[in-house]
């Protein structure tokens, strides 16, 4: 009972923050709302017994990506001397497409067999199991993602840095 209340709380938080992102115009507020949304999502992960995922979500999204984005906002909007205003467009076709997509998804879900599956409780030390799986079954993707991170690090650094040759000014 307690769990369910917490779950509804998290869901409510994230829906609200998503609405804030959608409707407000200030980019900085959007980033903060995204932070709320991500933290509540990590709580939902924890309730779904994916503790490692929840911690990763907190660390990487809330800690890493959000900071990156806030830096991005600072670097791009300040220089222009404008406020953090963000305009929007395409509302009518966008809402049409997304609501139709939502309807399609809901109908598909209603017709599918996924909702009928019952919960078999996973027991035991989940984080330990994650580690074992990561080093045995998922060893190859793990290595590959390491390489991907390295490449992305170099790529991002090279792209953002302004060498004499690559800068256009």
């Amino acid at each position: 009972m307690m769990q369910e209340v917490i779950l509804y709380l998290f869901i409510g938080f994230s829906i609200m923050s998503v609405l804030v992102i959608l409707l407000n115009r200030n980019v900085f507020y959007s980033a903060l709302a995204l932070l709320t949304c991500l933290i509540s999502l990590s709580g939902i992960y924890g309730l779904l017994q994916a503790e490692f995922l929840a911690v990763t979500q907190l660390l990487i999204y809330a800690g890493g990506v959000l900071v990156l984005m806030i830096f991005g906002i600072m670097l791009t909007n300040r220089i222009a001397g404008k406020s953090f205003e963000s305009k929007s467009h395409n509302w009518i076709p966008g809402i049409l497409v997304t609501t139709s997509l939502l309807v399609v998804l809901v109908i598909t879900f209603q017709n599918s067999s996924i909702k009928a599956t019952q919960n078999e409780l996973n027991t035991g030390n989940h984080i330990r199991n994650v580690g074992i799986e990561l080093m045995s079954t998922y060893a190859a993707p793990f290595e590959v993602s390491g390489v991907l991170l390295l490449v992305c690090l170099i790529g991002a650094a090279l792209t953002a840095s302004s060498f004499k040759k690559s800068s256009h000014e």
Partner: protein, 639 residues
Amino acid sequence: MTTAANSYILWLTLAVLGLPLMASLSCFSIKQKVGWLAPLLSSILLLIASILASILFFQIGSEYEVSFSWVWFNLNQKEIALSILLDSKASIMMLIVTIVSFLVHVYSIGYMAEDYHQARYFGMLAFFTFAMIGLVMGSNLLIIFIFWELVGVSSYRLIAHDQEKETAIKAATKAFLLNKIGDIGFLIGLIILWSWSGTLEVADPNLISIPPFWLATAGVCMFIGVISKSAQFPLFNWLPDAMEGPTPVSALIHAATMVAAGAYLLVRIAILFTEDVLILIAITGAITTLAGAVGALFQFDIKKILAYSTISQLGLIVMAMGGGAVQGGYFHLLHHAFFKAGLFLGAGAIIHALHQVNQQSNMDVQDIRNMGGLRKKLPITFISFMICAAALSGIPFTSGYVSKEFILTQMTMWAGNEFSWRWIVMSCTWAVTFLTPIYTFRLVWFIFYRKPQHEHNIEEVPIIMRIPLIVLAVGSLAMLSSLSPFHISSVINVLQQSYPSTNTIISFVSIALILISSAAAFYIYKNQDAKNQKLVTPQYYLDAVSNYFSLLTLKLSEATRWFDKRIDFLIHGISYFQITVAHITGWADRYLVDGVVDGIAYSAKGVGAVTRSLANGKIQSYLLWAMAGLVIFIVWILY
């Protein structure tokens, strides 16, 4: 042949192919500071290559046929092989190519001494040789095609060697583009052969076991390639323009590498050509040879005269190959390499000598009207030029005579006793035999014998340029290819087929013809001075003819005017009728035809406007439409 001997020959072959490439690469990598090294290095490597080629030639002799092949790649169980086929024809061609190229290299050391881009020049020269050798030895048509293209590219670079000269660049582009036409033909031929027979080996009997129609089509396509490369009738324009390149390059292009490639290909893939294609080849050759000879008569640029003579001689060769005289044509190709290279290098020596003196004045040093009386001043050039010119005109005791007489004999026998279209082709052969000495000795007379037009203190060219001239002149004498100067019983029995018995009458007639025409040419031009000069310039005759024409036209017009008045009335009637018709047509055109066209254009514009509004360059709109498409797709798939 034993395996050991085989591998020995293989290594020799690869060395002959590799040395020019090595020379080219080392020339390109040499620094500007030690640029003087490039000519020496490439000449020495080419010398080694030509020595190896001669060893190879004597090893192969006339009996063996050696082939090597390595699988290059597989396509759908059909393999393409890097293959080499060495028979007597290929090995003698390699020998000629390397020797002529070596001599041109040596000559260029003197000729290009003041050029700043020497390293590039010699590198391209060696690369040109490499490409030609690869073409000669290759046995897979794809390999031949690759080297064929390399020949084209390097000739392009060499013609445009003087990059500051706009005409040179234009000439090079023209040569390149005209050659591309032929390359397309070649490529289509390759595709046809590959799709029908599944092999591209020239020695593979499967190659020609395809439907006759397609075999003929492939043959025609390949012949289009030959047309452009060997400067045959519709596509020969690039050759005279290519004279913009340095003269030694012209020598190489005309003698051994570029234009010889096409004629060589005719020999290499002779089995492909069916009877009908051979007719086409013979007729093309006949047209080319006459056009070239006539063109050479009317030129005043020394190099252009030689260029037209090359076109003419190549036409002769191609005609001989299309007619019955394959061996004769091939012989002539080899001999032509020697004496034409000699002529070009001689011309280069003359230009070089004149250029040294007249650097300041604006005189065109290539115009033969500015020359004259050079016999005394350039004795060695004169002698070698004379020998090569004699070989070109086919005077006895020269190589040109031997092969030309061979072609004449074979063509006459091929034509047969009954009159047919073959007689026309054959008569072209004879006509060219008659015309060649005329333009050759016109050239010789203008350069060497005529009274000097300007006072020059010119000196003989440096010794390094004299040596190749002498070697080529000696090579143009008949002794190298046959013991008896009058017919071919060769020491170097290149083509092992039996030779037709020499027809004494034909020999006699041809000698007489050649001598008469040479003497006539000499006589006409020797007796020419200011007052009757007009008799020998073509413009004089053209003017006379046009005068008669204009008189005739005048008379005709008077007669017509009288007649005109009589039929004026009729014409009026006709014109009224025509105007009415025109009005009707105009109305129909405006409202019916234009209306349809406008309507189509309008609707196309409307469709375009709608489509364009989707592609407004905003990435989010693209994303939106993609998503909409995705939703529609999901709905369509699921329900």
